[in-house]
Symmetry: C2
């Protein structure tokens, strides 16, 4: 049987896994990225991991392609990582360098596009034709899978919903703009707001739980916990993040008419604390016909989403 | 040589024209719609107009398909006009009824999608790959042509940018929502705001030019004229409409990454009065890479845009 291999290259770890045509994970591996060693060393490590998986499954499955999800700006047709800040890569021809080492067709793309592709095809988006997927993590980004086809746009830059300007948001964004959705609605944005409020002396359960320098350890999960324990600050931050995300999604949905919006990434672990307000705002802003035809669903693949997405993406680009 | 025939069905007039493969108009006709006579009478009239054009061009061109642009909600695959308020049509199977009369493949779609398709392929969008087109008229709507392909979305409802909620806009929209872009930025929306301000006693050149009941005759063109003559009210309305449209387009552009935004429809006749503020707001809200890769252009086909679009659309759907 044929298999494809998906690779998710993060700043800390590389995860590599093989899936069958239905996106079932056959085997996976995880190694440290050690990006400081330079891109050749990272690519050599990826090639070793792919080889290891092929050897382990070689009697039952034939590898026909490799998909590599890279953070940052990617040219998927040229196979080049144009800029990946946390890897310190700039204009690295990942696909051709890896093909030389591996001897299989290699396809690369932005990690968000691959994540959403995997969810659309074999996860929460199964059965939907017009999927808009959003990942909430350090930043917020989106991808569109329409009739099974990824939407790229000019220079494959489509999906930057995290940098849509939101009214009432004043925060400066790392991108140079201000008021970007992700400054307040990403997991990091929510944590940043909580820290700011706590440093300014705001009363909160979080102030007791993270006294002094402990505050640096605060995560988005702690916000969820505090909200469940009745904390007003945590609730305000999560509800506002959900509402603003719902508002940005409503504008996108009116233009795109998706039948499913998939919400994923670490931020989605907040569940209904975030998704409740998100849905309420979203549905309140949609025309009736849009409201009826659209479902908001949460991503299903969790930790494996990256490798499943890039593996299925390899099959997609490979025409397999 | 092959030709296709495009039909633009409006509440007042039907325009019918033939084009060659490049979208050059070979011949066109205009008749009153007389929608009160019912859809069968209107479709019989369209069939007569198509026949007249075929007879006139029959020695040189062979008609291979007909495209019909219908206002309102259309199911393009089923060929059904689901709801067209100004024609009083509901669930009219336009394509099959016309095919029976004409004996050619008939394709129908929403008039905005056809307008934008024509502009994208043979008008202001020539040479661009990822086109977002917007028409500013009685309402505001958009269409997406990506790599030569129209984007439909669920139930072919994509493009409702006119109903995106804009902050600071309070007007009730006919759609049932409030704060919709088109309530203040469509041609009718701009005229409505001017009338409201004038009735409330606002000083303006327009008060002198349209005294008393004359006010009913005010058009968007009069606002442009007054703005050129230094009128503050007209200027405020046009500038605000441009800025709000730019803002809605920025949100769409960040998600879609178009390389061209085409602005068309009657409202685009305001030219730089509207487009200046539109561009300024739009470019101010885009990430640098998006800013560099995106041009805002005005539609080129003017009065023929409807028939050129629906004619080229027939070729597109026909696989011609």
């Amino acid at each position: 049987m044929n298999m494809t291999i998906g690779v998710d290259v993060g700043g800390t770890n590389i995860v590599c896994g093989a899936t069958d045509g239905q996106g079932r994970v056959l085997r996976k591996l995880k190694r440290q990225t050690e990006a400081w060693a330079g891109h050749e060393a990272v690519l050599a490590r990826i090639a070793d991991m792919v080889e290891e998986i092929r050897e382990a499954l070689g009697n039952d499955y034939r590898a026909v392609g490799v998909g590599v999800g890279v953070p940052g700006l990617v040219d998927p047709l040229a196979g080049v990582s144009k800029f990946a800040g946390n890897l310190k890569w700039r204009d690295v021809p990942v696909a051709s360098l890896l093909e030389r080492r591996i001897g299989l067709p290699v396809f690369i793309d932005n990690d968000v596009r691959m994540y959403v592709y995997g969810e659309a095809v074999s996860g929460a988006g199964r059965g939907y034709r017009h999927v808009l997927g959003i990942t909430i993590g350090t930043g917020i980004a989106a991808a569109i899978v329409n009739g099974g086809e990824l939407y790229y746009g000019h220079q494959a830059m489509a999906g930057e919903i995290g940098h849509v300007r939101m009214d009432g948001v004043e925060e400066q964004c790392a991108c140079g703009l201000s008021g970007c959705l992700e400054t307040v609605a990403s997991a990091s944005g929510m944590v940043r707001q909580a820290k700011k409020a706590l440093r300014a002396g705001r009363e909160s359960l979080l102030a007791e739980r993270f006294p002094g320098d402990e505050l640096e350890k605060l995560t988005a999960a702690d916000l969820s916990q505090a909200m469940d324990d009745g904390d007003a600050l945590a609730s305000e931050i999560l509800v506002r993040a959900g509402r603003l995300t719902g508002r940005a999604l409503a504008a996108a949905a009116m233009v795109l008419s998706p039948d499913a919006i998939i919400v994923g990434g670490g931020g989605a672990l907040a569940g209904e604390r975030l998704l409740g307000p998100l849905r309420e705002e979203l549905y309140g802003l949609l025309l009736p016909d849009f409201r009826e035809g659209l479902r908001v669903v949460t991503a299903e693949h969790n930790d494996d989403a990256g490798i499943i997405g890039s593996s299925l993406y390899a099959a997609y680009r490979n025409g397999a």
